[in-house]
């Protein structure tokens, strides 16, 4: 942690980066994203199991991009990213949103994070995405901090089991999802925290024509949640921020995970793996399955 603070301070002092985006501690079991431009402020930076946010989302924010822009051109931004968050960086590079050369990726050697703020870090409270994580450190980053430690074995219970839902008959699945989506209040926290939801104006905010009804009735909620999952198909890197941010506890990542599985099954595609890969949507193979088509 000290090493990170020193390194980040140096970056700012030498003006190598315009800002450092990292985590600061707020309360015992909670961190908050922080954008640092003053070298002395780097002492606020922390790295621990409570670094939940995927800070990559900030790299594509107009305000943050403006920080990096000056008369002389574009300066680098440093971002603290967990190895899994780096997949979002890769995805954003694939989609022309950010450039690797404008980034300084400060990675943490990660041993898992808690499922939500306020929980004690142990096997019961391990975040779902950490359960089968196999990228505790990243080679894509410019520098990694902290030591590699083992991820605790998951001893908790997931509220929803994907395979159980898959096995339900269609009408029951529709019932399940409708019930879940009915909870939605359209606060769009899921969209706000998603690094890949970077559209200048989201499809749901388009009014002529009205793509998705803005009302939070069953129909509007169903359409929004389905389209959100669709637009993230083959793009979502599984950071799980949407589900964590959801105030109504809708199991959003069920859909994301299902689509990631399908992308792999149908096209052998995994998002955020390499900037050299063509994106799943936007490319095609003549040999793609023709099974659906009469």
């Amino acid at each position: 942690m000290d090493e990170l603070r020193r390194f980040a301070r140096e970056l700012l002092l030498k003006k190598e980066v315009a800002a450092v985006i990292g985590y600061e501690q707020v309360g015992e079991a909670r961190t908050r994203p922080v954008v640092i431009t003053d070298p002395d402020e780097c002492r606020r930076l922390v790295l621990n199991e409570y670094c939940l946010n995927n800070l990559v989302v900030y790299l594509n924010r107009a305000r943050i991009k403006a920080l990096a822009r000056s008369k002389e051109g574009i300066r680098k931004l440093a971002v603290v990213a967990k190895p899994c968050d780096i997949r979002s960086i890769v995805a954003l590079i694939q989609e022309n949103q950010i450039r690797r050369e404008n980034l300084m990726i400060l990675s943490m050697n990660c041993h898992g994070v808690v499922r939500d703020f306020g929980c004690e870090f142990n096997g019961d409270n391990l975040a779902a995405k950490c359960i089968s994580c196999n990228t505790q450190s990243s080679t894509y980053a410019d520098k990694s901090f902290g030591e590699v430690r083992e991820i605790p074995k998951f001893t908790g219970k997931l509220e929803y089991d994907l395979s159980e839902i898959e096995q339900l008959p269609p009408s029951k699945r529709m019932e399940f999802f409708r019930e879940q989506f009915d909870k939605c209040i359209k606060c769009y926290a899921c969209r706000a925290v998603c690094p890949l939801c970077y559209c200048q104006r989201c499809i749901t905010d388009k009014t002529i024509p009205r793509w998705i009804e803005s009302s939070s009735h069953s129909r509007g909620n169903f359409a929004w949640n389905i389209v959100r999952a669709l637009h993230l198909s083959g793009r979502c890197t599984g950071c799980g921020e949407c589900e964590r941010a959801c105030p109504m506890d809708i199991p959003l990542s069920l859909l994301n995970r299902k689509m990631a599985m399908k992308s792999k099954e149908l096209f052998g595609y995994e998002s955020g793996k390499s900037t050299d890969n063509p994106t799943l949507v936007g490319s095609y193979d003549q040999k793609d399955s023709d099974e659906l088509f009469m």
């Binding site: 403006a66 000056s70 022309n96 949103q97 559209c199 200048q200 002529i208 024509p209 936007g282």
Partner: protein, 665 residues
């Protein structure tokens, strides 16, 4: 907006199952519809006048016609609208004939459906925006790909019309397969005698830039404005200096290392070679793969032999870019000549015929070389294996063609004719020779073609056997051809001295590769698709790219030439005005809302999406957005559906219009 609805009875074609008056009456109640009427023949002059009058009297802003398919009369009604002072894109057609009255029997449900179809059209037309045609400038130069007879003809026609031509040929000489042929059916005139003058004409034509030993790397742009990148492969001979004297060729010590592809592998050629004596241009090429200099850095005999110092071992491939307005693809064909199925080939071979195993089992083009006066045997019929004169030759037709089991279902069209010709030539040259032809059917449709085949049978006594050959094997220096005469119903065994396989015409191996570079579709065999099989046979589906010759389908010489001239005239028509008018159905990006993910660019089949920088006050780029080149866009709309933030709209089919149609269901 005031909308007029016009329901056509189409005689009785529509009104038999659709209650047209009821449709017109019901649709009159739709909000926005000012006027609604039905009429016997809306497309007739009185029908169109009815529309014009209604527009005038009721001050209509847009019209909906319930009639036949828009593919039939959309144009008619749009013209009528223009004549009445309405923008042609404020006309919608409800397809009440092909999609309704002709396919349904129950009057009640068909009428109900017709009402709904008209309602959908009304809702769409309410949201339609007036559009006007797009003008695009034209570069008046043609790129011809392929220097066979089709390419030559096309190049000459365009050049003679007064436009520049860039002719690209991948081989060292133009001439193509026609230059290999001995004599041509059905006139038996010497192929080279008729071709060579045209080759020379190409070379000397001031408007034709000839690029041999060159290949097209990529083509960007769109009709009227293509940019072709061409790779000029290194000949290792300075073309500007070389006089074509051939001294280097005769001095080259490599004599028996490389087969001549012009001679179809029946003769050797040196490392530095001119493919054939009449080659155009008459400039040699050094084959790096066999040349001693490239193998061990020694030799240089050719350098010594050349008194003009034209040999340049260091020559590299060069790239050049040509701006052209149209492209004529005339890449021709190759022969299917597979003994066994090679790895990765989709065609199963004819292992049972021994091609590649027995030297005297040859294909049609090899026989052409043997029969050619300029060929390896100077026109005497001799066996490749021992040089003896064959007395008995079996010709087998449909080797590959019409054989779905081997991967080709189509008829190669020319084989019946050239087999007859070859059998005839053999009989002319070897008077005591016997010629047998195994055929499935004789397809001799063409001027003088049937007569020609009859002549082979009746005057030259070629033995035609209807049936297939099951197997060929060697026995005592003879090739035993086992087949069946299906007319007599008896098995046939012929002990032949030589076997000629009339193998199928197939596209070049890299035909799909070139198609992707040019941006044209191809069929499952690799033949390039024409835009319409009847009405647009020489247009590809990509505007400004035309097809000529056997790259499109098996063709004989006169057909290829006719097609080439047709393609040339299409290009000339294109050049007849200084700018093109295009349908305004193109996509447009809302730059304010574009997030610059460029998925549109990834999916655009035409490369129409460009990157545009949006800069801040200091001139620093703060956003890249997509920009669609109106000239390149073909209006498919794939980008609109791909765009996640819905920042692209396709004019004429915008999302609001489609949503309105869905709402009107």
């Amino acid at each position: 907006m005031k909308i007029g609805v016009f329901i056509c009875h189409c005689g009785e074609n529509i009104s038999r199952t659709v209650d047209c008056p009821r449709v017109a009456e019901t649709c009159e109640k739709i909000p926005g519809v000012e006027f609604s009427i039905d009429y016997k023949y809306m497309c007739s002059d009185p029908g169109q006048k009815l529309i014009k009058d209604a527009v005038e009297i009721h001050k209509l802003d847009a019209i909906v016609v319930g009639s036949c398919s828009p593919n039939m009369h959309e144009r008619t009604f749009r013209s009528a609208a223009v004549a009445a002072g309405i923008n042609p894109f404020l006309v919608e057609i409800a397809n009440l004939r092909e999609h309704c009255s002709w396919v349904h029997e129950d009057v009640e449900s068909a009428t109900q459906k017709a009402i709904e179809l008209v309602r959908m059209a009304v809702e769409k037309v309410k949201r339609d925006k007036p559009l006007s045609k797009i003008k695009v400038p034209v570069t008046k130069r043609v790129l011809v790909i392929g220097g066979g007879i089709a390419g030559i003809q096309a190049a000459l026609d365009v050049a003679n019309a007064g436009y520049d031509v860039v002719l690209v040929e991948k081989e060292p000489s133009i001439g193509g397969h026609m230059s290999q042929l001995s004599e041509t059916f059905p006139t038996l005139d010497c192929s080279q005698c008729i071709l060579t003058p045209r080759m020379v004409e190409v070379n000397q034509h001031p408007r034709i830039k000839l690029l041999t030993y060159s290949e097209v790397e990529k083509i960007e742009g769109f009709i009227g404005n293509f940019k072709a990148t061409i790779r000029k492969k290194a000949r290792h001979i300075n073309e500007d200096i070389c006089s074509g004297c051939g001294q280097c060729v005769s001095k080259c010590p490599i004599k028996k290392k490389a087969f001549s592809s012009f001679e179809e592998g029946l003769a050797y050629r040196p490392a530095v070679y001119i493919p054939f004596p009449q080659a155009v241009p008459n400039i040699p090429v050094i084959d790096e793969s066999v040349c001693t200099y490239y193998r061990n850095g020694k030799c240089g005999m050719c350098v010594k032999a050349c008194d003009r110092q034209a040999i340049d071992f260091d020559q590299k491939d060069t790239m050049m870019v040509a701006d052209v307005g149209a492209v004529i693809v005339a890449t021709g064909y190759k022969l299917y000549s597979i003994g066994k199925q090679p790895l990765g080939s989709k065609y199963k071979g004819y292992g049972e015929y021994g091609y590649g195993k027995y030297k005297d089992v040859i294909d049609g083009l090899q026989f052409e070389r043997i029969a050619s006066a300029s060929g390896p045997t100077s026109g005497e019929i001799k066996r490749p294996s021992d040089g003896k004169e064959p007395k008995k030759i079996v010709f087998i037709q449909c080797v590959g063609s019409r054989d779905p089991a081997k991967g080709i279902s189509y008829c190669s069209k020319i084989c019946c004719m050239y087999t007859a010709k070859q059998a005839m030539l053999f009989r002319h040259k070897v008077h005591d020779g016997e010629a047998y032809v195994f055929y499935m059917d004789i397809r001799a449709g063409g001027k003088m073609y049937e007569e020609f085949v009859r002549r082979a049978i009746e005057e030259d006594h070629v033995n035609y056997i209807r049936g297939r050959v099951s197997r060929i094997y060697e026995e005592n220096g003879k090739y035993i051809v086992k087949g069946e005469d299906t007319i007599a119903g008896v098995p046939v065994n012929i002990d032949a001295d030589m076997v000629v396989l009339a193998s199928a015409m197939i596209p070049h191996d890299n035909a799909p590769g070139l198609a992707q570079k040019v941006g044209i579709p191809y069929d499952k065999y690799g033949f390039y698709n024409e835009s319409h099989p009847k009405l647009k046979p020489v247009e590809s589906t990509t505007a400004g790219v035309f097809l000529a010759g056997a790259c499109n389908a098996p063709r004989d010489i006169p057909e290829s030439v006719a097609m080439a001239s047709a393609a040339a005239s299409k290009a000339i028509i294109l050049f007849s005005s200084d700018s093109l008018e295009r349908e305004p159905v193109v996509a447009r990006v809302n730059e304010d809302l574009c997030a610059g993910c460029f998925y549109c660019r990834k999916v655009c089949p035409f490369g129409a999406v460009e990157v545009r920088d949006i800069k801040d006050m200091n001139g620093v780029v703060y956003k890249e957005v997509a920009y669609i080149n109106q000239g390149v866009c073909q209006g498919c709309g794939t980008c609109t559906a791909t765009c996640l933030s819905k920042s692209i709209e396709l004019a004429g089919f915008n999302n609001e219009e489609i949503f309105a149609e869905i709402a009107a269901l």
